[in-house]
Symmetry: C2
Subunit: 127 residues, 2 copies
Amino acid sequence: MSSPSQFPTHYGYASASDVNWSRSEKAVARKAFDAALRRELQEVMRKAKQMASQIKQPGDLGDLEQYLTQRRKEIDRKYDYRYSHLTLILGKLLHEGWLGEEELRGLREEKLKSIRSTAEFLAKEWT
Amino acid sequence: MSSPSQFPTHYGYASASDVNWSRSEKAVARKAFDAALRRELQEVMRKAKQMASQIKQPGDLGDLEQYLTQRRKEIDRKYDYRYSHLTLILGKLLHEGWLGEEELRGLREEKLKSIRSTAEFLAKEWT
């Protein structure tokens, strides 16, 4: 587990629920997952720098602190690497644009379907 | 009271314990107190900008978040404007350099003594 105020760089490990993932699928999923996390963290870094550079009054410090806390908690909740719900996570990352579908090449069709279906569901949710 | 993640710009109001402060002393104290708070917040803003500009990896985000949270809490605790312990606060601000002694001109000698004595006590504490 990460400690408070710690932006982690990767998460979690395999458990009993990973029986349906072949070794090569696990490698594809892990790589895609890590790449998405890296991109999202890059975006938080970019935005934090931008917010800080625009600080003009004390209230802006609170805004920056809140942004950092909120993003850390969101990322911490979202990037929970467990095979039991990995298709849901990858679907969400696909929907949010942190992941491209080409990065999922190598997963079996049933998983791709499930991932796409999650992404489509979320896209409908927010339109 | 300030809400979480809110860096406040001034604090508190008079109560029954302000009987020993004349109107002109109150004006001097308030001005000095507000100036010290303003300077300390300026320093937090400067430091936050500097830390953000040097962010290179996700761990640096956690450091910045922690710095902001810690400084907000410290400032929130310290700048508690109550006449009952205002000489202690002013002494602490004097010791920390957020306040110059010339800014206290206009306070009665007994108060200046008490403020200086607090500053000297703190100086000894940390040497």
